[in-house]
Amino acid sequence: MLAARFELRFSTAPIALDPLVAEVRSDGDGAVLSFLGVVRDHARGKRVLHLDYEAYPPMAEVQMNLLFEEARERFGLERALVVHRTGRLLIGEASVAIVVATPHRAAAFDACRHLIDRLKETVPIWKKETYEDGSAWIGERS
């Protein structure tokens, strides 16, 4: 029940939070924090029509496990689940969910923020934005 539990999962279907919360939480946890990254209707000053996400899953799992380990060392995190979408996403759909459960809330806020910040730096996932007048893989332009 209190066992450490970390997982990264990819999904092509919409993400529902409540089942993830039920998976992550243990009876010793007083706080569950859930971050959703959601597709906005505009980015870089342009209207966004849709996004496409591509991932390198086996490397993503290795890199995410390094981040879980960082969060365990820095914040005592023991339970977290990350679900990332791949394929096409429309406005308002969640591209990523990070659900963390901790005995006290401070660690939940710190760990969740750390995981999303670091995920965006090192986990091999790519986003292509499609606008009315074209599309671009984000981050490619130096």
Partner: protein, 79 residues
């Protein structure tokens, strides 16, 4: 020795390839693999990317050793 090379996102689109194989000499480094890739795909010259050997980030001087998979990792943009 054989090394599988994976290309993602904009690199995949620029080269038209997502997966290919390289034949490398014993003792080859990531930079040796890169040189061969640049010969085959001039479009890679103006691209920014990192390297990953068997799912761990690597640099040009990293020895390929017994690794089986080299990935060119364009700037990530997940989340």
């Amino acid at each position: 020795m054989k090394l599988v090379v994976l290309l993602f996102a904009g690199l995949r689109e620029a080269t038209g390839e997502s997966r290919l194989e390289l034949e490398l000499c014993d003792g080859a480094t990531v930079a040796d693999a890169q040189a061969e890739l640049l010969r085959r795909f001039p479009a890679l010259r103006e691209r920014r990317y990192a390297f990953a050997l068997d799912h761990h980030y690597a640099t040009g001087s990293t020895a390929v050793g017994s690794a089986r998979e080299l990935a060119l990792i364009p700037p990530v943009s997940g989340g």
